[in-house]
């Protein structure tokens, strides 16, 4: 087990939550060890798809000139991604084909992050690295294929050989560019999302477990400290909601930046 609480808290029988507490036994087959079947994380992902599909189809279906409340909410959400991320980053001329991808990514990640703050669900599905890898891989292959489609095989030259660099250090620069663009980029893209969600959720779990221990089992003067951990835990919960929204935005924004970079590669 990986101990996440301070060693001092480990005394007197306090068992801090571990990473394994985020890996619950499977639903199908019931109670099977994590990794052997269909689990809560997968269920939440499928539910998120159903909710998003249902909500946006209902919101978009009427298509009235003067939108109702639901349609307005849907249009505002759609416009946020379409205009503030897609159009502003990729540019007025080219952004339209990528709107569906950016829109799907943003709301898919948003709701899957927010699962961590929704009672009963309480598991940010993106804190399981598989989901983050999958999403980052989709984006990774998207911008590489776009670049090749747009510029042919020359795309790799555009992407890795910057102009105006002295010939002496060019090999080094090219090596750095290759590593940073084609190796590090997808890793940071996925781990940023995964790590923020995992750590945020662990902090909340830790404050909850600590509060429970302090209030119910600690003795004497330690008991009131439980109030502190409770207040801190609530504050972290609210902070975590902010982070969950922000990370969805960051992930989508980076996607837009990568796409823009590959379709406009020749320009820089």
């Amino acid at each position: 087990m990986i101990a996440l609480a301070l060693p001092a808290a480990n005394e007197e029988g306090f068992v801090p939550p571990t990473l394994e507490d985020m890996h619950l036994p499977e639903i199908l087959p019931w109670g099977a060890p994590y990794g052997d079947g269909f689990g809560k994380q997968m269920l939440l992902i499928l539910i998120s798809v159903v909710i998003l599909g249902w909500f946006f189809i209902v919101a978009a279906r009427k298509g009235q000139m003067v939108p109702g409340r639901l349609q307005f909410l849907g249009e505002a959400s759609y416009n946020f991604v379409r205009n503030s991320i897609g159009r502003d980053i990729i540019g007025e001329k080219d952004f339209r084909p990528y709107t569906p991808l950016l829109f799907s990514l943003f709301f898919f990640i948003l709701i899957n992050n927010l699962w961590g703050s929704i009672p009963l669900a309480q598991l940010p599905t993106t804190s399981h690295v598989g989901t983050a890898y999958a999403l980052a891989a989709i984006v990774y292959f998207t911008w590489i294929i776009l670049g090749i489609k747009k510029h042919g095989i020359k795309y790799f030259k555009y992407a890795t050989v910057p102009s105006g660099v002295p010939i002496a250090i060019l090999p080094l620069v090219v090596l750095i560019e290759i590593i940073s663009t084609f190796l590090v980029r997808p890793i940071t893209h996925s781990l940023r999302l995964f790590a923020t969600m995992l750590s945020g959720h662990l902090i909340i779990m830790l404050s909850a477990a600590g509060t429970e221990f302090l209030l119910l089992e600690a003795e004497g003067l330690l008991k009131p400290l439980g109030v502190l951990t409770l207040v801190g835990g609530v504050a972290m919960f609210l902070f975590e909601v902010l982070i969950q929204v922000l990370q969805a935005y960051v992930f989508t924004l980076l996607t837009a930046i990568y796409i823009q970079g590959s379709i406009a590669a020749a320009e820089h």
Binding site: Q41, M42, L46, S48, I57, T99, P100, T125, G130, L135
Partner: protein, 183 residues
């Protein structure tokens, strides 16, 4: 549950090692979402936006056309108003000059008529005076003759003579009158 935890713990779960099933479910779920978004959500929203833009632009064009029409109509009305004023002025001026003409005509006509009436009445008066003079002369002559014959006892049956006498007398009378009038 504890057993599961222990099992998982024993495997030494590395958080960076993905669960392959979660990757598959994520890819599948995202693919379904992408399909829904590409097939329904984006086209519907874009259609609504396009229709709304068109409606707004159409409305603007319509309003512009209406305004142009209104201003054209206003110009026309203004022009008509100016025409009407000019026309009214012209008619008024015409009427004024015509009225003056008519008045002058009437005045002239009235003056001529009054002159004519005056002349006619003078002629009539003169004629009547002549008639009166003639009738007086004969009647006064006869009466005077009869009176004189009765006074002198002499029959002045001879009409011709008496007439001459009377005429002479009247002529004398007239002459003396005229002389008096002259003097």
């Amino acid at each position: 549950m504890n057993e599961a935890l222990i099992l998982a713990a024993e495997e030494g779960a590395n958080p960076l090692v993905p669960n392959i099933w979660e990757i598959l479910v994520t890819l599948l779920g995202f693919a379904v979402l992408m399909f829904i978004v590409v097939k329904f959500v984006v086209p519907m929203f874009e259609k609504t936006f396009a229709e709304r833009t068109e409606a707004i632009e159409g409305g603007l064009a319509k309003a512009e056309a209406a305004q142009a029409e209104a201003s054209a109509a206003l110009d026309e009305y203004k022009q008509q108003l100016i025409d009407a004023r000019t026309e009214a002025n012209r008619i008024r001026e015409e009427a004024r000059s015509e009225g003056a003409q008519i008045l002058a005509d009437l005045k002239a006509k009235a003056a001529a008529e009054s002159a004519r009436i005056m002349e006619q009445s003078q002629v009539t008066i003169e004629a009547e005076r002549q008639a009166a003079v003639v009738s007086l002369r004969s009647e006064v002559g006869a009466l005077a003759t009869e009176l004189a014959s009765k006074i002198v006892g002499e029959s002045l049956a001879d009409d011709a003579r008496s007439a001459r006498v009377v005429d002479r007398f009247l002529d004398e009378l007239e002459t003396s009158q005229n002389a008096g009038a002259v003097q």
